[in-house]
């Protein structure tokens, strides 16, 4: 059916028009200038990108990268055991187990961050409890600092890490572990030398997802970090709201987007070389 | 015999890959014809071209003297029994069988009558409302056959339908299919790589190799007079004794006889070859005796029956002989 192929067109046209084109416009705007009144005029300039070299913005960049890194590492430490446990469940409990983990993920970041605000604020659950138990005299400033933001990010992104790792573990041929055991490997060694390496693709996928999401976050820092919070996400949000510096905001977004794309391409390259190695191994087997 | 299917000058290419160089084949009405060959020889592709699921790159397909080459499968009066049955999982047995009749807009009461008939024929009456997932392989197999037969197609195409069944069930189904075909007088075109199956069921076997027809004959002729080494090797076991002119003599193991090296009896031909027994392997009804020929790397096989007078042992020296009528000259 010749015209069957056209069925894909409406969706692709829509995405081209409302996804690709806007991005291109943003690229254009990132090279544009801002009038004192906040209008955008298309006078070519590199000034927006040059501002990245200012110490203030470099600091924000590093801060964001650092937060993203810490978030990724901790969600890995929390997520891998969780994924492993689900994968080890009897088969009919695995889908319910997954749904259990994924449900919080679907509830939007705003509500989930707000829940932590209730718990951590100076009149919140934790402080009230500690005060009533007499363990502290003054409420602790648990909220509106970098640690709170990190906590919020970890909380928001943990399911992102769990799902790809679960898929990776589940797809692993369990007989490899039986073979390892048969050849004398104790459980921890088998895990370290067989399971962990073979599930690396899942870990990589989850890490990429968490890292990239964390870079672009502004809801969590905004709600849980307050005015002091300065991550790229908030910076961008600001440019489009209060500061009305769209060209600069666009430049920031493009850098963010390019960073995300680079990471994804790196991941694909790594995946392909891994698959090449794995299929070589399969041929030798 | 009236011609039912004719394939003229069929060539099939997938990209640059030539699967079938050039095939001409005619199948008669009421024949049970088997396309036999190893994996990748093109037999399934040929079958699918008759069904309309593939189109020949060059050539024509005639069904009952009508050119159907460009007709889509749903316009052809043939039906196929698929290799993995392809039963519709969201319909029960009766609905699966009804499907073709529904598509052809057969009147409701005639639908029911034909469905009931075919359910009886394939002994599926009790499973009418079952879903495919709730049935065994053998039962699903019969549903696939029923679903095809109920449409009274001119030709029934079967793509390795018994492959997934265990040995006993397969043997039983082979007989059932054969009886079904005879009883209904339909034309069956059957694809398999199992030579035993082909020999049991077919009126005619077409042995295929790399997209070409090696031999097209009755089972008897194929078995006793293979035309080439390939056919001789593919059907049953064979021993080959190369001759100077590039041809070879093929002798079946059951026709290969062994005698003592020193045997000088005149009741049988003088041994053409001598050798040493290297192995005797138990195979149930027979022992296979492997003999390494003198002055050669070649090992031949002879069958030894449990009630044979002499039971051969490893390392014995033997003479090898056979009757002239049991040898077949084959080309390389």
């Amino acid at each position: 059916m010749r015209n069957g192929k056209l069925l894909v067109a409406p969706a692709m046209l829509w995405l081209s028009l409302f996804f690709a084109v806007p991005l291109l416009i943003v690229v254009l705007v990132s090279f544009a200038t801002r009038t004192p009144y906040g209008q955008v005029i298309f006078k070519f300039t590199l000034a927006n990108y040059q501002r990245f070299l200012e110490p203030l913005y470099i600091k924000i960049f590093i801060s964001t990268l650092f937060t993203a890194l810490v978030t990724t590492v901790i969600t890995f430490a929390m997520g891998y055991p969780l994924a492993y446990t689900i994968a080890k469940l009897p088969v009919k409990w695995q889908q319910p187990g997954l749904i259990l983990v994924m449900v919080p993920f679907w509830i939007n970041f705003l509500i989930r961050s707000y829940a932590w605000v209730i718990i951590l604020r100076s009149q919140g659950v934790v402080n009230t409890l500690l005060l009533n138990l007499g363990l502290i005299k003054q409420p602790l400033a648990l909220l509106y600092n970098d640690y709170a933001v990190m906590l919020g990010m970890i909380y928001a992104l943990l399911p992102f890490m769990v799902l790809p790792i679960y898929v990776s573990i589940e797809q692993m041929d369990k007989r490899l572990l039986e073979a390892a055991s048969d050849l004398g490997a104790p459980p921890w060694t088998a895990f370290r030398r067989i399971t962990l390496p073979l599930t690396m693709p899942g870990v990589a996928a989850g890490s990429i997802l968490v890292f990239i999401s964390s870079l672009g976050m502004f809801v969590v820092p905004d709600v849980m970090g307050g005015a002091k919070s300065a991550l790229i996400g908030n910076l961008i949000q600001n440019q489009f709201l209060s500061a009305r510096d769209w060209p600069f905001g666009s430049a920031l977004s493009i850098v963010l987007a390019v960073l995300a794309l680079l990471l994804i391409m790196l991941y694909y390259k790594a995946l392909q070389s891994q698959e090449g190695g794995a299929s070589d191994a399969k041929e030798l087997a | 015999m009236k011609e039912m299917v004719r394939l003229e000058g069929i060539t099939k290419k997938f990209g640059d890959n030539v699967i079938i160089p050039n095939i001409n084949l005619t199948i008669g009405d009421g024949e049970f014809l088997t396309l036999l060959g190893p994996s990748g020889c093109g037999k399934t592709t040929l079958l699918r071209m008759i069904a309309g699921l593939e189109t020949p790159t060059v050539g024509k397909v005639y069904l009952d003297n009508q050119d159907v080459t460009s007709l889509a499968p749903y316009k052809r009066d043939v039906n196929m029994v698929f290799q993995n049955y392809a039963l519709f999982p969201h319909m029960n047995v009766e609905e699966n069988i009804r499907f073709g009749l529904m598509m052809k807009k057969v009147p409701k009461d005639e639908q029911q009558e034909r469905i009931d008939q075919v359910l009886y024929l394939t002994q599926l009456e009790e499973l009418r409302t079952r879903r495919p997932a709730q049935m065994s392989g053998g039962q699903q197999q019969r549903v696939a056959i029923a679903r095809a037969l109920v449409n009274n197609p001119k030709v029934l195409l079967l793509d390795e339908p018994l492959g997934a069944l265990d040995y006993q069930l397969r043997k039983k189904m082979q007989l059932e299919l054969k009886n079904l075909q005879r009883g209904l007088g339909l034309t069956f075109i059957y694809v398999t790589h199992d030579q035993e199956e082909a020999l049991t069921m077919s009126d005619r076997i077409v042995v295929m190799n790399a997209g070409q027809i090696e031999q097209d004959d009755s089972p008897d002729k194929i078995y006793h007079h293979p035309s080439s080494k390939f056919v001789a090797r593919f059907i049953g076991e064979s021993n080959f004794f190369d001759l100077a002119d590039g041809t070879a003599l093929a002798v079946r193991p059951e026709k290969l006889n062994l005698c003592l090296e020193a045997d000088s009896s005149t009741e049988h031909p003088e041994p053409a070859y001598y050798g040493t027994v290297v192995d005797v392997v138990f195979y149930g009804t027979i022992d296979k005796v492997f003999v390494r020929l003198d002055n050669s790397n070649q090992t031949v096989v002879a069958y030894q029956y449990f009630d044979d007078v002499k039971r051969w042992q490893q390392d014995e020296r033997v003479g090898i002989w056979w009757n002239k009528r049991d040898e077949v000259k084959v080309k390389k």
Partner: protein
């Protein structure tokens, strides 16, 4: 494999993390029934915050907006997405790279970038922000999810079923109607539910493209949170959580069981 202390430790750790995931949500829900303005001290059980929601004109308006936008965008994304998934499943395309890019990038690029890019588009082309721009934005970020969800379902479908239907005299349309569509339906419904949920829940993209008179529920919650803590937020959040959870559980149960490719 024998049960060992390792397995128990692992299980305990996993349960602890699950608790970590759910505790905040449960606390939020719990305190939505707290009869006190000053949150953390428990003063008794009450429904009054929920009642006040029902009387809050702005909440009703935000809810209505969210539902309308979600419904329209779900209808459009499901239609466009299913068509695309069917075509991608059946045909080979020359520009696979471009198609994959358009398909996956919306999911991989940070939402904030997509949100502001649409804001830039609308402002530079002079389109006023409002319900319309929200619908367009929601469709844009939901389409990929639908295509992937339906595509996964189609992928798991055996190819020979459509061939069998054709062999049994079904025209291409009949094959689609009686075989392909019924078998793909669970995937289509799952995709639709996912699209609806994503739309109802969306904050970041809506933040950039909503106009002054077109608030959605998440945007309203944000505004309230920024103003200060109030128990109505708890109640509203709890309602949204329950709605989301129900939708997702239904949608996930319709997805095919993850089959491992073991021999």
């Amino acid at each position: 494999m024998q049960k060992s202390w390792r397995d128990s430790a692992l299980l305990a750790y996993a349960l602890a993390i699950l608790a970590f995931l759910y505790l905040p949500l449960l606390i939020l829900a719990l305190y939505s029934f707290n009869d006190s303005r000053i949150n953390a001290v428990w003063s008794g059980f009450t429904f009054r915050w929920y009642a006040s929601l029902l009387n809050n004109q702005r909440v009703i308006e935000a809810l209505t907006n969210s539902l309308i936008i979600a419904t329209i965008s779900t209808l459009v994304t499901t239609t466009l997405g299913t068509m695309a998934a069917l075509a991608l499943n059946r045909y080979k395309y020359k520009f696979k790279g471009v198609i994959n890019g358009l398909l996956y990038l919306p999911i991989l690029i940070p939402e904030i970038v997509m949100g502001l890019s649409l804001l830039v588009l609308f402002s530079q082309t002079g389109i006023a922000l409002g319900k319309g721009t929200l619908v367009v934005a929601h469709i844009t970020f939901c389409i990929s999810f639908v295509i992937i969800t339906v595509g996964a379902r189609l992928e798991g479908m055996r190819k020979d079923l459509e061939q069998a239907a054709s062999d049994l005299y079904a025209t291409p349309w009949q094959t689609f109607r009686y075989i392909t569509f019924p078998l793909a339906l669970p995937g289509i419904i799952a995709g639709a539910l996912m699209s609806f949920t994503l739309s109802i829940d969306d904050f970041i993209i809506s933040f950039f493209v909503a106009g002054p008179n077109s608030t959605t529920l998440p945007l309203y919650i944000y505004a309230m949170v920024k103003r200060g803590i109030s128990p109505e937020i708890n109640a509203l959040s709890t309602c949204m959580m329950c709605a989301t959870i129900s939708l997702i559980v239904i949608s996930q149960l319709l997805q095919p069981q993850h089959k491992s490719a073991k021999k």
